[in-house]
Symmetry: C2
Subunit: 157 residues, 2 copies
Amino acid sequence: MSASPELDAYDRAILAILQRDNTTPQRVIGERVNLSAPAVQRRIRRMEETGVIRANVALVDPARVGHPITIFVEVEVESERAELIDAAKRGFAAVPEVQQCYYVTGEADFILVVTVASMADYEALTRRLFFADNNVKRFRTFVAMDRVKVGLEVSLA
Amino acid sequence: MSASPELDAYDRAILAILQRDNTTPQRVIGERVNLSAPAVQRRIRRMEETGVIRANVALVDPARVGHPITIFVEVEVESERAELIDAAKRGFAAVPEVQQCYYVTGEADFILVVTVASMADYEALTRRLFFADNNVKRFRTFVAMDRVKVGLEVSLA
DNA sequence: GTTCCAAACGAAACAAACTTGCATTTCAAC
DNA sequence: GTTGAAATGCAAGTTTGTTTCGTTTGGAAC
């Protein structure tokens, strides 16, 4: 899971395809990158084992499963004592509505991406998550009007 | 792609599995949700056709492909004229390093998630993206120290 | 309660994709 | 050149995905 045996151009080409559609048959991938299907398969397996590929998932449209609202939250904490920060990380990560959580530098300490069914639900969430937590000094809310670009694709250029 | 024939408990159970691992065999899914493999298959295909499932992708660890730095950027524009906003959307979305882009309400107009190889690269990106654009009034940078929770999973509770 | 229809289901046959074993090739170090 | 480790392609074998088809289910109209 740790060794980084260096990715070559084949690996990158395969990743570029899988990042967009991991249902692409290995035979087709092989044709596009000029390798046989077994070679492709072995490279994929190796990248999965070494953690280059972290997961294979279906991307679901939040609006179609009852979460039409996406919200960004900047959270500022009172104390940055390590154990309090760790507790905050665990707390945020455990909430299903919190889709993403980052610990950041700058004018905020955490940035969260949240999906909810309604603003009322968001309001209830802020109560549970921020107002009930003594270590949260302040938070700022940004409601997404347009999800211009959504994904976790990484540039391989 | 538009009709919403309402998802039932089976569909949700299937989605919950696919959101975490879309390589799970249909038979296994069937066993877990109490359906036959063909039934599972038909439901998945329907959800793909109707857009509930937007894509099937491999999630790649950015650090392992040369992009160890994740950055949030709040962008504030001068004018919110529709055509300028649309131009900004297209411009941001076209940049490979811009992994996510949202048009938001609040103290900023856009929030970007960017992955880069180095701060020097980020500096170069800001030059191209913000300083060269007359409509960008100001931007704020938040560098991720810890990617506490990363994903696009949607709560189905 | 019965009839009818459309939608969804399961079992089995079928097709496609994945996986493994093995001989060959590649390439760098000697 | 020779050697050895690593990767490759081919072909066989296995698993998974897909289609067919007859049956069941769940309503709506009667």
